[in-house]
């Protein structure tokens, strides 16, 4: 079941088309990656999902309902450009932001206590934000995003500018929140992060969606039937039946031709005296897929 469905959404600023008829589907309780280089239209798309901007056309359904007000309350959003009221005290600020999401003061206090204890920062309550270090502010920013227990959490470039400790912390929290039922969308231009975390992705380029679906499906879709064999001893004679893609010491990378199967390759290798240590298929990285796609569809 999809918790969020974006259908044919279009947004232009003056004559610049920022988002050009994009549709995405985010399954419930998934970790969804929105990919694309800087300036692809990710942030504009997110701003429409979070009701900061209204789309020129198209619909955005959260749990089947297109209601910008409802989305505001149910989504927790951490923008790429982080920001807090510098002169406001940490505790007051978090309560304020939670209440703006229609949370009761009492419920907000309870959540605040939970997160403060979890991050072991209870003594920060009365401190002004400007007194905190950057790393500390990032923790507060994260709490402000999730304090109202949103069903969808959107993180725009969540790891940019994070120190490794906070980066790990937030990654852990993302998994835990998902475990508890939240759906997480995060956008990034760093493709390698997506492979670690996301199950589903959508790729955006110049305002257009160029690809979407479960990460594994996409990888399979773009696989080039390349296998890597690590072996002991001598490389058996392949007799020209298989083309060598890359040769390393005690390893060979082979690309299968049409009609050839991996079993065939393995059997041939063993029958010809090869001693196999490991046998893997090499799937393309998201980065490679992206470059492949953009290269193919680029209008430049």
């Amino acid at each position: 079941m999809n918790i969020l469905e974006v259908q044919n959404v279009y947004k232009a600023f003056d004559k610049n088309v920022a988002v050009n008829g994009v549709s995405i589907e985010v399954p419930q309780q998934s970790i969804f990656g929105l990919l694309g280089p800087n300036g692809a239209g990710k942030t504009t798309l997110i701003r429409m999902i979070t009701s900061i901007l209204a789309p020129d056309s198209g619909t955005i359904l959260l749990e089947g309902i297109d209601d910008p007000q409802q989305r505001m309350l149910r989504i927790g959003y951490m923008p790429e450009e982080r920001g807090l009221y510098k002169k406001m005290k940490v505790g007051e600020q978090l309560l304020y932001l939670a209440q703006l999401k229609n949370m009761s003061k009492k419920a907000a206090r309870e959540q605040l206590k939970y997160w403060f204890e979890k991050f072991e920062i209870s003594d920060w309550y009365g401190k002004k934000v400007e007194e905190l270090s950057k790393g500390m502010q990032q923790k507060i920013q994260f709490i402000s995003t999730v304090i109202h227990q949103p069903s969808v959490i959107i993180l725009d470039e969540p790891f940019s500018g994070l120190d490794p400790v906070n980066s790990n912390l937030i990654q852990r929290e993302i998994y835990e929140l998902r475990q508890k039922g939240a759906t997480i969308i995060f956008s990034t231009h760093r493709m390698e992060q997506v492979e670690q975390i996301c199950e589903n992705i959508a790729m955006i380029h110049k305002g257009n969606k160029i690809l979407d679906g479960p990460l594994n499906d996409i990888k399979n879709q773009f696989k080039e039937h390349i296998f890597r064999i690590e072996y002991k001893g001598e490389l058996p004679d392949l007799q020209g039946r298989f083309s060598i893609y890359e040769q390393e010491e005690n390893a060979v990378v082979i690309q299968l031709q049409d009609g050839q199967s991996s079993n065939e390759l393995l059997a041939f290798f063993v029958q010809n005296g090869g001693e196999v240590e490991s046998f893997n298929e090499i799937l393309p990285t998201i980065n490679e897929i992206f470059i492949n796609q953009v290269g193919g569809t680029s209008d430049e």
Binding site: L53, Y77, E81, G83, K87, M88, Y96, L100
Partner: protein
């Protein structure tokens, strides 16, 4: 609505709780008292005593015999006269050694043409002292003339007749009013309006800019509508201003009562004389005291209640009218404060022009420029309170139109500002021109 209320609360409390707010609110009335006190002290300290040696060759000013020099010039707190029969040359040489400040030389003048009187000193007299001295000399000659004409001194004194006009409104109550006082209060009210609209308007602008440069705005806008954020800020800061005024009106009320008590009770004749400067010498102390009580009476005759109401209404109206524009500018500029100067200019110019008009209005509060400028919402918050101090009736068509147009006006600017704000607030790192802002307004 609930969200706007939360925003108002934050904007209000975050400012009112600041020590700087408490300090300025408390200190502003206090600093007025301190300034007044300093002024009195300076006036007191500035009146150094001068001793002048008088060489009179006319015989009008000094009655002399061998052992005795009786100067007819009246001594005062600051001027003392001493006759001398030494010759002028010697006096000029020695006046300093003998502890005098200067030499007043009167040649053998005639009563009709008392010219050629000289004052020798290395220090100038100063305008006030010189005027006093001239009046003093004139008085002596006048008395001499009266004497020579064989007139009775008392009769002449009685001839001096002082007349004062009481201005009243023509309605049944026949309220007494005073032009001088009204213009003083009118100016004060207009000036306060000008100041507060500027101060609180820029406060709104800075607040908006702060949210934009802090980048908190995107977090906020994922929870509230731009309009809610803008209106919440404007109302919150407006309430800060209102709080400040209410505290001030209250303290001024107390002060006023205190000053009344002070003037009526503890002030004795000599300190009064000192306060009013040397020019008051000619005026009877009784008359002086009468005037002071008169002023107090006239202040009470002003439409104080209506003035306070008008002040608060026009503060709110003018503030809402202009702060919406300031908020729009704040949303459009963002990071670069030097750039904001150029955009703020079109908003501040009408405020400044209104203030200039105010000074003209005080001359003639019922002119056509007064009428129009008190109806147009760009200037009415500054002009209308002044006209009300002049006794404009709350039931007049002028007041009705002024209120109506101001309310329509701030609704208009808020509508306009909302359109600019919602686009400008998310516009990062881009230089914005007035022309572009215009485009945002017409945009759907």
């Amino acid at each position: 609505m609930n969200k706007i209320w939360l925003i108002i609360q934050r904007e209000y409390l975050s400012r009112v709780k600041k020590t700087s707010f408490i300090v300025t609110t408390m200190l502003a009335p206090l600093s007025i008292i301190v300034l007044l006190a300093i002024q009195f002290l300076i006036i007191g300290a500035g009146q150094s005593k001068k001793i002048i040696v008088v060489k009179d060759e006319s015989g009008f000013f000094v009655e002399a015999n061998d052992s005795y020099q009786n100067v007819k010039l009246k001594d005062s707190n600051t001027l003392y006269f001493k006759g001398s029969d030494e010759n002028l040359f010697e006096l000029k040489e020695s006046y300093k050694e003998n502890g005098y400040d200067g030499v007043l030389f009167i040649p053998p003048v005639s009563l009709k043409n008392p010219s050629g009187i000289q004052y020798y000193s290395d220090k100038l007299l100063g305008i006030a002292t010189r005027t006093t001295l001239e009046q003093n000399l004139g008085e002596v000659l006048k008395n001499k003339k009266i004497e020579e004409a064989g007139l009775d001194q008392q009769f002449i004194k009685d001839l001096r007749t002082s007349v004062s006009i009481t201005e009243r409104t023509p309605d049944e109550e026949g309220k007494e009013n005073s032009s001088i006082l009204a213009s003083a209060f009118g100016f004060l009210m207009g000036f306060m309006m000008y100041l507060t609209i500027m101060i609180y308007g820029t406060m709104v602008m800075r607040g908006v800019m702060e949210e934009k440069t802090n980048r908190i705005v995107e977090v906020m806008l994922s929870s509230v509508k731009p309009f809610q954020l803008m209106v919440g800020k404007i109302v919150g800061i407006g309430m800060v201003g209102l709080t400040q005024f209410i505290i001030w009106i209250f303290t001024v009320g107390l002060l006023y009562a205190g000053i009344g008590f002070f003037l009526a009770g503890t002030m004795d004749a000599s300190s009064m004389e000192q306060m009013m400067g040397e020019a008051s010498q000619q005026v009877d102390i009784d008359e002086m005291q009468k005037r002071v009580t008169d002023i107090i009476g006239k202040v009470q005759s002003l439409p104080i209640g209506f003035m306070i109401f008008a002040f608060i209404f026009y503060f709110l109206g003018g503030y809402l009218f202009y702060s919406a524009l300031f908020a729009a500018i704040g949303s459009a500029v963002g990071d670069d404060s030097s750039e904001s100067q150029a955009l703020v200019f079109p908003v501040t110019v009408p405020i400044i022009i209104s203030f200039i008009i105010l000074t003209v209005i005080l001359e003639d509060p019922n002119s056509s420029i007064a009428f129009w400028s008190s109806i147009i919402p760009f200037s009415s918050p500054i002009i209308m309170p002044a006209r009300i101090a002049y006794g404009l009736s709350p039931f007049s068509i002028d007041f009705f139109l002024s209120v109506l147009f101001l309310i329509l006006g701030f609704m208009g600017t808020t509508w306009l500002a909302a359109k600019i704000y919602r686009t400008g607030i998310l516009m990062m790192g881009k230089k914005v021109s007035l022309k572009e802002i215009g485009k945002w307004v017409v945009k759907r």
